[in-house]
């Protein structure tokens, strides 16, 4: 079916108001590259932001950029790069992981709160998102936040919209805080460490004064090669040199450290960011587990005792990407059991639709928070027409 593609906010209001009146559930989409994430939803039409494009405001000196939701992420990234700036949270591109095509959009980056390795230092997409315009399930245009980076006026609905996967509103415009692109990026690589030693090294690096902006560990079992532990620093060249030296000294006990610069390091961090390290075999299920950094290895040891799995760590050990056999529950009971012991939560990012229909894709919540979740959904979308059931059944 042809998607509904409003060309302006008031168009979107009319479409959603009509859908609400007829109780017609809509699939909310940007470029559709992440359509495979979430529970399969029963919808009758797709509402797409494809026709809402263009950067609407860019003030480099104020570190602010705004764009209509359907603007390709690449276009925003290019506009910023032209002025030596970037989105601080390093948005990921999941096309290779999910086997999808099309262009990721800036609106979906916000709606899915997609953040990469720099999240440990610069915050997530939700931390840089300072303003949003959206149409709620009643067909009303709503704004929250604005275009200034310090703003505590009223309830922070911006945060609610970030990571709500189109279930609370159809995002029409987003405003992000941006930062200068670093003059130089350098990566230290340690070799051959076990998961627990590696995460210890990463935590020590992140807890140093040397401003680490990437901390990942790729275990040997990931690709049969040698384990690599990666630590990234960025900034002015002079300062990067100083901090590289200091970090080498700090981590001397973890074996020799190799400094990697340039394209080779860039490719490694892109592979961590986009989780392409687990893209193949393409029929495996892929989980994303968020936990306290130092607890990552114990959590994975618990999982590995019960499951065949391959994994790697980002966020200093606090983010584990993990590939499992998609059969049965794709490892859900084991993984969620480990999460219950160690703290955190697990999301089933990639799995066949029938698995995603049977297994909770997003971590189930305790009853009082589930009640709040359902009521929040109703507060935005009382008729339940926006991506119903994508995150939780009945939400």
């Amino acid at each position: 079916m042809t998607p509904l593609t409003p060309t302006c906010e008031s168009d979107a209001c009319a479409i959603i108001a009509d859908a609400a009146a007829r109780r017609m559930p809509l699939a909310v989409a940007g470029g559709g590259t992440k359509a495979g994430i979430g529970r399969p939803a029963q919808t009758e039409a797709t509402l797409s932001s494809a026709a809402l494009t263009g950067v609407t405001l860019y003030e480099p000196a104020e570190l602010v950029i705004a764009a209509l939701a359907g603007t390709p992420l690449s276009e925003v990234v290019r506009a910023l790069a032209d002025r030596g700036q970037q989105l601080p949270f390093e948005p990921a591109d999941y096309r290779a992981l999910l086997g999808s095509s099309g262009k990721p959009t800036i609106g979906a980056v916000a709606a899915a709160n997609v953040s990469g390795p720099r999240r440990i230092m610069a915050g997530a997409a939700r931390d840089s998102l300072i303003g949003v315009r959206f149409v709620n399930g009643r067909g009303e245009a709503v704004k929250s936040g604005g275009s200034v980076m310090k703003n505590v006026t009223g309830l922070d609905l911006v945060k609610l919209m970030a990571g709500s996967w189109g279930t609370l509103g159809f995002v029409t415009e987003v405003t992000f805080k941006v930062l200068p692109r670093p003059e130089r990026s350098a990566t230290l690589a340690l070799a051959g460490l076990s998961d627990s030693r590696a995460v210890e090294a990463l935590c020590a690096a992140v807890a140093s004064p040397f401003e680490v902006t990437g901390a990942a560990h790729l275990p040997a079992a990931l690709d049969g090669g040698e384990a690599r532990t990666l630590i990234r620093i960025e900034g002015f060249s002079f300062s990067v040199d100083h901090r590289l030296g200091e970090l080498k000294r700090l981590l001397a006990g973890y074996g020799p450290a190799e400094a990697i610069d340039g394209e080779r390091a860039g490719a490694l961090w892109a592979a961590v960011r986009d989780a392409t390290l687990l893209a193949e075999p393409h029929d495996s299920a892929v989980w994303r587990v968020s936990t306290a950094p130092a607890k990552g290895p114990a959590l994975m040891a618990q999982v590995a005792r019960a499951l065949q799995a391959r994994w790697f760590y980002d966020w200093s050990g606090g983010l584990v990407w993990l590939a499992t056999d998609p059969a049965g529950d794709a490892g859900a009971a084991t993984i969620r059991g480990a999460v219950a012991t160690q703290g955190g939560h697990a999301t089933l990012v990639r799995a066949p639709a029938e698995v995603r229909a049977a297994v909770d894709v997003f971590e189930p919540q305790p009853a009082p928070l589930m009640r709040v979740t359902r009521d929040i959904k109703a507060a935005f979308d009382p008729a339940g027409v926006l991506n119903p059931g994508r995150m939780y059944a009945g939400v």
């Binding site: 915050g123 310090k150 609905l157 945060k159 936990t291 955190g344």
Partner: protein
């Protein structure tokens, strides 16, 4: 006294004795404050022009006690005004006659520090500074640093999403908060977030932060602690024209440098602060910037050298890079004491709008005109990197009508901030102070959506109900 309070519920006032009897068994005897003298202490906060005597004050010691008090209040239809240290400049913690004050100040312990995970779990009544002090021995600190950090609690910081002078680099409270234990209006205790970095479902933590005590009472928090930089050094620059100072800030950012702080003071503010702190501020300039950078000595020197070079085209009249710890401390003492130093010479109200930094020269000119039109003086201090203004409108409370004039000027200034694309409040919160201006910034649909979300947590408007949303046109769900 132009800000209205809701008419107190006479039925609640009539049942006061019965309510006190119901509250008494829920907390320790000394934790229930009922005498008028003792309640007076809690009648206002940092917005001292407004005072309301609370029905009673309850100061629980545990989450369970908070839950019991909340359950009782819900069942008896008693309104609750949560309170940290009562330093709110927007009246966020001001009492109501028909509401109890629920203060968390007795719950002030550090529960757990985890340096490997860079987190601290604290009770919410702990002061902002005490968190940094508890982790300083390992070289760590808690980043958001509001000027009131010696007194203000993390509970209040969470309620207001407080900022500080260093948020250009480190963000505000919401960017440094990982989890909370919160008591909902019906007494249910929930854990939101934890030691991990992102939310499993909707970002309820982000919603709670900045919700001004309307969604529940936070009793514990997990905050991100950071390792301090190797060192920090400020530089001080004075300019003959406001425009030059503003353009200099833009040029520094344009060159890819994000100083950890960029503070702006105008001539009246410089004069007031210098008289108090003897920081060596230049008295012959129209605008002054304090720019601080972080790193090793060599890194600081390198970055400051770049900044000094960038500043040259803007003809700084004074340019001084701090040469010692003592000099750095003096430079900051002047800025951090701006509110206190102003209070020594005059009554004032402190505004807190944020503007796009490019509009700075225009906005400062208009602020001056607005205050002059009311016959009042104004001193400006603000965070230049993020556009968060703090005009201090000076008046004499003993002159009849002056405070009303100051409030009128403040209102004009906040409207101006919104008009140029900014917002009513950058870090102090709406409270009662900006409540009636919310419609300048938000449409009816914007506000209704916020109120519907509020209604998810507190459909009966029992939690801090005099604040944030205009009294007219409220919806529950």
């Amino acid at each position: 006294m132009s800000i209205a309070f809701p008419v107190p519920d006479q039925a609640i006032l009539a049942r006061r004795e019965e309510i006190l009897r119901g509250l008494a068994p829920l907390v320790a005897p000394e934790a229930l404050i009922v005498t008028e003298d003792e309640r007076r202490v809690f009648e206002t906060d940092g917005l001292t022009a407004y005072r309301k005597l609370p029905l009673a004050v309850v100061l629980p010691s545990t989450t369970e006690e908070v839950a019991a008090v909340m359950r009782f209040c819900r069942e008896n239809g008693v309104k609750v005004v949560p309170r940290g240290a009562g330093t709110s400049l927007s009246g966020g913690a001001i009492a109501q006659e028909d509401a109890i004050i629920l203060g968390v100040a007795k719950m002030n312990r550090v529960l757990e520090v985890d340096f490997a995970n860079r987190t601290a779990r604290v009770q919410s009544g702990i002061t902002n500074l005490a968190i940094s002090q508890a982790v300083a021995h390992e070289g760590f600190f808690y980043a958001p640093d509001p000027s009131s950090q010696l007194a203000c609690t993390i509970a209040g910081n969470i309620a207001m999403n407080s900022g500080g002078a260093h948020c250009l680099k480190y963000g505000v409270t919401t960017n440094n908060l990982l989890g909370v234990t919160m008591v909902l209006v019906d007494g249910t205790v929930v854990e939101i977030g934890g030691e991990h970095l992102d939310a499993p479902g909707y970002d309820l933590l982000g919603l709670v932060c900045g919700s001004e005590g309307q969604l529940g009472v936070v009793t514990e928090a997990v905050v991100r602690i950071l390792r301090a930089a190797e060192g920090a050094r400020p530089a001080l620059m004075g300019f003959d024209a406001v425009e030059d100072a503003g353009a200099c800030v833009a040029a520094i950012i344009g060159a890819g440098i994000i100083p950890v702080a960029m503070e702006y003071m105008d001539r009246p503010a410089i004069k007031i602060c210098e008289a108090f702190a003897h920081a060596g501020y230049p008295l012959d300039v129209e605008a002054m910037l304090i720019i601080e950078v972080e790193g090793s000595d060599e890194e600081c020197e390198d970055t400051l050298a770049r900044i000094v070079e960038i500043a040259q085209p803007f003809r700084p009249k004074t340019l001084r890079v701090s040469q010692s710890e003592a000099e750095s401390a003096a430079i900051w003492k002047g800025r951090k004491s701006a509110f206190g130093a102003t209070g020594r010479i005059s009554d004032y109200i402190c505004m807190d709008g944020t503007i796009p930094t490019g509009r700075l020269p225009y906005v400062l000119k208009r602020i001056d005109e607005i205050c002059k039109a009311e016959g009042l003086g104004v001193a400006n201090v603000f965070h230049a990197g993020d556009g968060n203004l703090h005009p201090l409108i000076l008046f004499d409370i003993n002159k009849p009508g002056e405070m009303e004039k100051a409030e009128a000027a403040g209102e004009e200034i906040l409207k101006l901030c919104v008009e140029v694309g900014g917002c009513l409040t950058g870090e102090h919160g709406v409270g009662i102070e900006k409540r009636d201006l919310m419609r300048c910034q938000f449409t009816e649909a914007d506000l209704k959506q916020q109120m519907r979300v509020r209604g998810v947590f507190d459909p009966g408007w029992l939690m801090n109900p005099a604040k944030v949303f205009p009294l007219e046109g409220r919806v529950a769900a």
